[in-house]
Symmetry: C2
């Protein structure tokens, strides 16, 4: 222990702020935290860079040291709602050959990512002003790739009855929508716990026509991989 006013902030390089930090963590993370709160509560287009800076406790221009602009802040937030799931998908497919276990794990990872993200930022994905941001298409592509994964797994699982007249692509979309329902639930004020997440992931199997016994089997099978697909999230 050498210096510093309060114990919880080590001295950092750089010119000191006019006001002591209002949020914890590295400055870039402080910006993302403040922006996430404002974007989800007031809307993206309706939030100015000045407001974000004020919420962080820095000057408006200082934001541009950490980000190239307002657009980069929101795209970084968006990528955090999907990157963990993308990473999980790679790991899951190397861990199991069983498509039912894999689909359950992918859905579970997706739900937990959306459920635990700060300030329900998954919701930004549905906002039309955000969709116009430069770089949003990259995020759409990633989300499409994930939808394709759902569709591919579903096509290996689905019974003829469950497929009905809709193709595997359409069923894949249905599964994505099922998972994204957690965004709506959070917006309505619900908190999603591990049981809710498991229930939604199971629903994906049921929508593919998997019967109770096989769902139970997949859930049991998945349990042994749970710790390996992510680093023990909330």
């Amino acid at each position: 222990m050498s210096s510093a006013a309060s114990a919880n902030q080590r001295p950092r390089p750089g010119r000191p702020r006019l006001t002591p930090p209002l949020l914890a963590g590295p400055p870039r993370e402080q910006v993302l935290e403040a922006a996430a709160r404002l974007f989800t509560s007031k809307g993206y287009a309706a939030t100015s860079t000045r407001e974000i800076a004020e919420a962080v406790g820095i000057r408006q221009a200082s934001l541009y040291y950490h980000f190239t602009g307002k657009g980069e802040i929101v795209t970084e937030l968006l990528s955090r709602t999907i990157r963990p799931t993308m990473d999980s998908v790679a790991r899951i497919e190397s861990l199991t050959e069983d498509p039912e276990t894999a689909l359950y794990l992918v859905a579970l990872s997706d739900v937990r990512t959306l459920a635990s993200a700060p300030h329900n930022i998954g919701w930004l994905y549905l906002a039309p002003d955000v969709a116009q941001v430069e770089g949003f298409d990259e995020f759409t592509a990633a989300r499409d790739a994930l939808a394709a994964t759902y569709a591919r797994l579903a096509s290996r699982i689905a019974t003829v009855d469950a497929l009905g007249s809709i193709g595997p692509a359409r069923l894949g979309e249905k599964l994505v929508h099922t998972v994204e329902e957690v965004i709506g639930l959070r917006n309505a004020g619900h908190r999603i716990n591990m049981d809710d997440a498991a229930w939604i992931a199971s629903s994906c199997l049921r929508l593919c026509g998997v019967d109770n016994a096989r769902v139970e089997l997949a859930v049991r099978d998945a349990e042994e991989f749970l710790d390996e697909i992510d680093g023990g999230r909330p």
Copy 2:
């Protein structure tokens, strides 16, 4: 037939526009139509008054002859998603004493209003940038009054089982959400027809624990009032 360039536009008073009208109907309606399209596709805050004016084919400043500002445009659109239903409620309650028929008719009117509004403007109600507009609270109050009507009718209908541990107010909210699901359906690209609307309205009765036979009865009973509660909408 006396003058006018094309048959579909009678000469109006007022200085002529620089460009011929791009939309039909009275100027004020043209503004609302253009604004509804832009607000729902790009977002309220992300749409400028200049863009609205351009879509109408007038100068930006000319908007202010018809509206006091951007806020009044969006609140007028919002009130059109709820006023028809409010009016229906008054008429319905004077037509029938039966709460089940009444609830069915209220829900049906609500669904049809939201389903037939141009450009899914009911969705604006859920946008955080719109919620900050001056005068939005008035709209919230109206929507709350409607929720209270649902709750009051539900409390006269609901079985003990259907109420469960939730109170009538909470059940009322549930019914409102059930009806508002049409906003989500439209956003997802679905078109809601009369059968869909009837199905959703019936769902409200079922959520109150009304059995099949009684639902059928209410639907039959409601049919004779259908023409009287609104002027034959789409």
